[in-house]
């Protein structure tokens, strides 16, 4: 459901996103924009993205926020200099979510977040080799296609199979020129405006626009849901609770599911697992903990014995917490002590039902 409050979240502020964000700020239809990107501006970005040499070394979201404020001082800008996977789901909520990332993982995370929140999602990208600009608009209905519906088996495999012997897979730059990014950005902004103003008569909802600059071609195609898509496409009904994360204990949270006995419920954090123990790969010492894997700070990961970075190994992870996890020294564990914060969404699962909650504060 579109509420038309003039809010938008943009994920990935690179070749497409940096141009789109500035153009969006100039439209005058926005009251608040949320920017998400973990990267720092590099010298090579200046030629293809909306940054200048003065921005080199700055976080992209900070450089863009400064630029946007010069364009529209009244526009509220929120920034997350982090991967979208680390941003609380509730913090992504807006009238429209848009993205222009350079990798599959943030695209999948953003697509799923938009669907869970029931928000239209406008994704854009470029193919430098074929001089193509693309914009796709996804509806938030459960029978509509999502980003992953159009992925090949190889693309799914890239994300769904990870082997430690592969090492870190580095992202390669798209190699796209500024004008190609700007083309995709302008088409994306046009679609965002339609959604933000409610003028959806000619919106691309459920469709994809492909523009080829080499041979002056454009193509509009319908996106349909793939039966083999691994995502369930469900929108979540998320209840906002007014408790701050520090004021809500895990034991109390487990009792939030109506009609379920607390001893039979489980707490699941959106997009993350809990770490019960950290291990030092050098000296094999271990330390008990109870925290979300993505919310363990670098200082908390340092081995007191040898200074090595502690690891959360597979067997010391758990997808859900039960009463059995909050005994002993974790008896009084709160959602904050688990690393949760305002905007995070968690699910309480019972034998037959589940409910989703967003932390307030």
């Amino acid at each position: 459901m579109i509420t038309h409050e003039g809010t938008l979240t943009y994920v990935g502020t690179g070749n497409v996103g940096s141009h789109a964000v500035v153009a969006l700020a100039r439209t005058g239809v926005l009251h608040r924009i949320t920017l998400v990107d973990p990267d720092v501006c590099e010298g090579r970005n200046v030629r293809s993205q909306a940054f200048t040499v003065r921005d080199v070394g700055r976080r992209k979201v900070d450089a863009l926020a400064a630029l946007i404020r010069r364009v529209d001082p009244g526009l509220e800008v929120r920034t997350f200099a982090a991967p979208v996977e680390d941003v609380p789901l509730g913090a992504l909520r807006a009238d429209v979510i848009a993205s222009g990332p350079d990798a599959l993982e943030p695209r999948r995370t953003t697509s799923r977040a938009a669907r869970r929140l029931g928000i239209p999602y406008v994704d854009a990208g470029v193919n430098a080799a074929e001089s193509l600009a693309r914009v796709t608009v996804f509806e938030p209905s459960p029978d509509a296609a999502c980003t992953e519906c159009g992925w090949s088996t190889e693309e799914h495999a890239t994300l769904d199979r990870r082997y430690p012997c592969d090492g870190d897979v580095a992202r390669s730059p798209t190699g796209a020129s500024a004008h190609l990014g700007e083309l995709a950005a302008s088409q994306q902004v046009a679609e965002c405006i339609k959604l933000l103003t409610g003028d959806t008569t000619h919106a691309l909802l459920g469709h994809e626009l492909l523009v080829g600059t080499a041979a002056h071609r454009h193509l509009v195609s319908r996106r349909t849901q793939a039966p083999s898509c691994p995502f369930d496409h469900r929108r979540w009904r998320i209840q906002r609770i007014e408790h701050r994360a520090g004021a809500l204990g895990v034991r109390r949270a487990l009792a939030l599911l109506p009609g379920a006995v607390r001893s039979e419920t489980r707490l699941r954090a959106y997009g993350d697992a809990f770490v019960c123990r950290l291990v030092c790969p050098r000296c094999n010492t271990s330390r008990e903990t109870l925290r979300l894997a993505r919310r363990i700070a670098a200082r908390q990961r340092r081995c007191e014995g040898c200074g090595e970075t502690l690891l959360a190994t597979g067997i010391d992870l758990t997808d859900t917490l039960t009463l059995a996890h909050v005994r002993g020294r974790h008896q009084r564990a709160s959602l904050a002590s688990l690393g949760m914060r305002a905007g995070d969404v968690f699910t309480i699962e019972g034998p037959d039902t589940e409910a989703h909650f967003e932390i307030g504060g």
Binding site: D160, R162, P164, C165, P281, G314
Partner: protein, 182 residues
């Protein structure tokens, strides 16, 4: 478990039955389910011959412990580091193992427990050895393995077998010739 998890529950129950059946038919494997049913975590004790590096020498060892966990997303994703945890011994010597990580090859989401146990056994006993440094977790062991291919596997007994009589014990031997010491 919610209704959505019925497929995973069924999968986990089947893995438990098949894994325990394999352990019952093997004198080289002991499998311990951990936690409530349906069991998602196992401790796999392998009593086969493998290698460790102690005091600079590569020697045989006959007890290895690996943790196996099936995350809730296991039927859709396979992240080796989340599924397999090398627990003991910490000084294991193998190109595919650097505790707490172990790499058993290109596994698919939903790979069964029995398959994982076989793959682990084949790694530990040097049936399955990564000889190329870029793909190895322990590169020292990779170099060593290339010079000692003729000695592999270090244990050629089948995993699925049950021997009533105790196996004859043999003295542990160091495998390093002086020229090959690391």
């Amino acid at each position: 478990m919610t209704n959505r998890d019925k497929v995973l529950t069924s999968f986990l129950e089947r893995q438990c039955a098949e894994g325990l059946a394999l352990a019952a038919a093997s004198d080289l494997l002991d499998l311990v389910p951990v936690g409530p049913r349906p069991t998602a975590v196992y401790l796999a004790h392998f009593c086969c011959t493998g290698l460790v590096r102690r005091h600079g020498r590569v020697v045989e060892h006959d007890a290895f412990l690996v943790g196996i966990r099936f995350p809730d997303s296991y039927l859709r994703h396979f992240d080796t580091a989340q599924v397999l945890t090398w627990l003991e011994p910490w000084d294991v010597f193998h190109p595919n193992i650097r505790a707490p990580y172990v790499c058993v090859g290109r596994m698919e989401p939903g790979t069964g427990l029995v398959d994982l146990l076989y793959q682990l056994y084949e790694v530990i006993a040097y049936h399955n050895v990564e000889m190329r440094e870029p793909h190895a977790l322990e590169r020292d062991a990779c170099v060593w393995a290339r010079h000692n291919v003729a000695r592999f596997p270090v244990d050629d007994r089948p995993l699925r077998r049950r021997v009533r009589a105790p196996a004859p014990t043999r003295p542990r031997r160091g495998l390093d010739a002086p020229a090959q010491e690391l």
